[in-house]
Symmetry: C2
Subunit: 219 residues, 2 copies
């Protein structure tokens, strides 16, 4: 079992290496974690002894397979909590991170299993990033703009490109947020606007401007 500090290092290595591709430098880690390079060196020696990273002095670190597995577990927890905070507790995206950062370190397999069920096995977090599966697979999800959907096709909102309050308030008013289920009911050729049904209940007409700013994934 890893300490909170170790988990944070592993997460940072994962992020900075772009999912485990490239090696990561001590300085990059020290900036990302807001610690001094000397502290990073210390910790890398420790993680290396635990076989969580492959560390060559003066030449950076990479996660081992085990380290990679641990990283995905933490990211899964982080992103599930983000979904919970936004969808159930109505946090805004910017309020979410700091809290999820703490919750991701709570140790309980059962907790995460149940949380996942409670949230309906979400595939993406409120930022549109994919949530690793229980088995530790991270499948990238194809994201498309609402404008690219054909009549009758469905999608779940995963990202919006404009974060101006006025736009977000507009979405709020029509009832669209991350996770909302949409279906294209009709296309108006005149101006390429679409009639969209929201959660299979009400329906609205969205201009092509707006359609370009809303990203969905296939359900």
């Amino acid at each position: 079992m890893q300490s909170t500090a170790e988990e944070n290092y592993i997460k940072a290595i994962y992020k900075l290496s772009g999912g485990g591709e490239s090696a990561v430098s001590t300085t990059a880690l020290s900036e990302s974690l807001e610690t001094k390079p000397a502290s990073v060196s210390d910790m890398l020696r420790k993680l290396s002894a635990k076989d969580l990273v492959h560390y060559v002095k003066y030449h950076g670190v990479q996660l081992t397979d085990e380290g990679h597995r641990v990283a995905l577990k933490i990211i899964r927890k982080h992103r599930l909590w983000e979904v919970f905070l936004v969808q159930k507790l109505h946090f805004t995206w910017d309020e979410v991170h700091e809290v999820a950062e703490q919750m991701e370190h709570v140790k309980s397999e059962l907790l995460i299993k149940r949380l996942d069920e409670f949230l309906g096995h979400p595939r993406i977090d409120p930022h549109g990033d994919p949530i690793p599966t229980e088995a530790g697979e991270l499948r990238e999800v194809e994201q498309r703009t609402l404008a690219s959907l054909e009549v009758d096709q469905q999608g779940v909102v995963c990202r919006v490109k404009d974060s101006q309050p006025s736009f977000l308030q507009y979405l709020n008013r029509v009832g669209i947020q991350i996770g909302t289920q949409l279906q294209v009911m009709d296309k108006i050729p005149y101006d390429n606007s679409l009639e969209i049904s929201i959660e299979k209940t009400k329906s609205v007409i969205l201009s092509s401007d707006v359609l370009e700013k809303i990203f969905v994934i296939n359900p």
Copy 2:
């Protein structure tokens, strides 16, 4: 702000002193926290310096007003998370404690405010213990058996006296769990059984045996 360790000491002092009444000994704390008495002495000196406890060497500790306030905050968090785990994630009572113990240390005022709203401002936790208010008041809630309710009176289930699996399964089947809203619809004088409506939907007839084992609070 207090560390996790400090919070655990404060909580333990609160519990062992019976809510802040009597003083608590070093040994009692060391047993409760599973640490050595020497470690407790260290920490008490530290908490005393922070004015969270009133500590007289060789004569035990008590919480200061500030310490008392902090204790109630932690207990509020712990009990709200317990409600969440049981009501939303379907944890059983024995699975709850260890996890809530970790979650109670997550730092975010907003989180607790929103969690409280999300859960509908519960007044008791899954064990029937009262949840301190945001303002730090802990009002004991009068608990009565279902058998003591009159026709038309309402109650929320807060505790059951029998924890045999067969009994709990029976409750499960009729749809009764902690937090369930009940109302007495009718009394059958013949055997003192009651007709009880469950969550204002279905209704069942419960024998006086069963009625004695279910405790409710006024909503």
